[in-house]
Amino acid sequence: MTIISGKKREKIDRLAELAAREEERGVSLWQDAFRRLRRNPAAIVGAVILAIFVLVAVVGPFFVPYGPTDTIGIREGVVRVGQGLIPGHSAEHWLGYDHQGRDVFSRMIVGARQTLLVGVVATLIGLAIGALIGGVAGAAAGLGGRWGRWVDTVLMRFIDMLLAMPSLLLAVSIAALLGPSLTTVMIAVGMVSVPVFARLLRGSMIAQSNSDYVLAATSLGVRKSKIALAHVLPNSLAPVIVQATLTLATAIIEAAALSFLGLGNPDSATPEWGVMLADAQQWIGIRPALAIYPAVAIIITALGFTLLGEAMREALDPKLRK
């Protein structure tokens, strides 16, 4: 016995609909995460820092005022290290000269490219090897039965051994094995992050393997290898991607540490921030700014990666999604 005019009913329905509509914006995990990322100021700051960094690294070297290896200061006689003379910033040389009379500003710009390269390559090495080991172990442990558990145990013992070694020591011994060079630094830093990626992917895959949709797929007779590759793996990647972002930050910092220990590129002609920072320690008494520039650049870049990584983790965390 509803006694109600059409117009009023319309209004009620519209109002109720308005309230319920927000719910229907249900979207996929990644879209949802991206939406939340855009609302997070930390993510924006991180992304802006990284955008500037990448832009400088890619385009910057084409526009530098001086060659990064041009010992202009020595040629013009303004830099005399023996007399403790390394001039600071001026109109022509914004950040002054380094101990070999090179223009620091140009070196910083060119160094951005090398630094980005070190970070990205090192992270990719760690990601590739770690994901391979962790992926195999995770698939084996989650779906492989008794044999699978055996494979998993062996692989994880190996990872435990890597973890039992102090990371820097691991890096130093790899560097010793290969001799000091930029490639060495990349490989050494990458190897250090292998166990982290491996454990992360394995844990995530095992958790996924225990979920109901895997049970459903298994009971439908889908092949185990297909379940692992088509369902479990893609669903387990989120924490790995987050970790990769965070690892980019640590890779840049650890590369600097290796350079500091004398394992970086011995040829300081190709500037890299870590090497510049390590080199500058010698002149810290005369011109501390030489250390400050690359250090601040490293800190800000690492901050960018960390901010973005943390924000991504928050955005993807199902516990925080509610």
């Binding site: 013992r157 190996f158 435990d160 051994m161 039992a164 070694m165 102090p166 990371s167 820097l168 020591l169 130093v172 011994s173 010793a176 094995l177 001799g179 930050a249 910092i253 600097a256 540490a257 500091f260 220990l261 920072l277 320690q281 810290i284 501390p288 250390a291 250090a295 490293i298 800190i299 800000i300 690492a302 901050l303 960390t306 901010l307």
Partner: protein
Amino acid sequence: MFRFIVRRLLQLIPTLFGLSILLFIWLRRLPGGPETAILGERGTPEMRAAIRRNLGLDEPTLIQYGRFVRRMIRLDLGTSISTKREVTTEFLQRFPGTVELTITAMVIAIGIGIPLGYLAARRRGRFLDHASVGGSLIGICTPVFFLAYILKAIFSENLGWFPSSGRQDPTIGATRITNFFVLDGLMTREWDAAADALMHLVLPGLALASIPLAIIVRITRASVLEVLNEDFVRTAEAKGLTENVVRRRHVLRNAMLPVATSIGLLTGGLLSGAVLTETVFAFSGIGAFLADAINQRDYPVLMGFIMIIAVVYVLVNLIVDLSYSLIDPRVRVR
């Protein structure tokens, strides 16, 4: 509990074996050997061969490994090639320094990190919160050795508050018993020696503490925020308990669980940072010695030190797991 400890220690054995095999193969693959380090580039092939024979490096790797294992079972780690002293002696002399440094760093990190993280959570969204979150982010992103240099430049070279290098002023002539300099000073009642050793620990300790401090602040803050939203905190409030009791008994005790886990992991990871800080402050721990050993291809030292470090690492984690079961009654060690 006893069975849990025994089982964990038994698990250590295969890990150590695997680690030793890996290390052995790896180290033998390093280009150049101890003979290069000893002779430099000048040595004749005959001299090199003689040194290798002397050190037993001319035999097949398998036999060398067998010898190493036989010695290791007797807890004999051999003699350092470069210093000609027992590896165990070298270790006992240097490790205490690193331990002192690590403990100092953890005391700083825990002592500042937990209260700061707690306060940040309680004042969420206010200045202190933003400052500590931002500060900890910068702490994580600052290279340890750079921070060490900065601290040294400011507090030692400029202000002169703390010594800039070493573990103790040698002119004090302190008595050595355990090689833990602070402990030695206390045991022999040489107060000035203990105080001096402490002063030497402050700056490297601070530099080393930066990363664990940052991480502890963040974990404590997140954990407290989570616990504050728990139902049982509301129950405690509903009982009319004083803020103090709610905070101590109900919030902090539960919030400490994840912090305890992270402290274990961080302590194990501190060694890497220790290598860097020890180098900057010329602090004679195992860090600098290990770095040298790699360059010198001092196989026995490398093998021995890394094996012991692995054992220590596992023991630290065992202690953390045990203490975890003490604070959380739901966790039963089996």
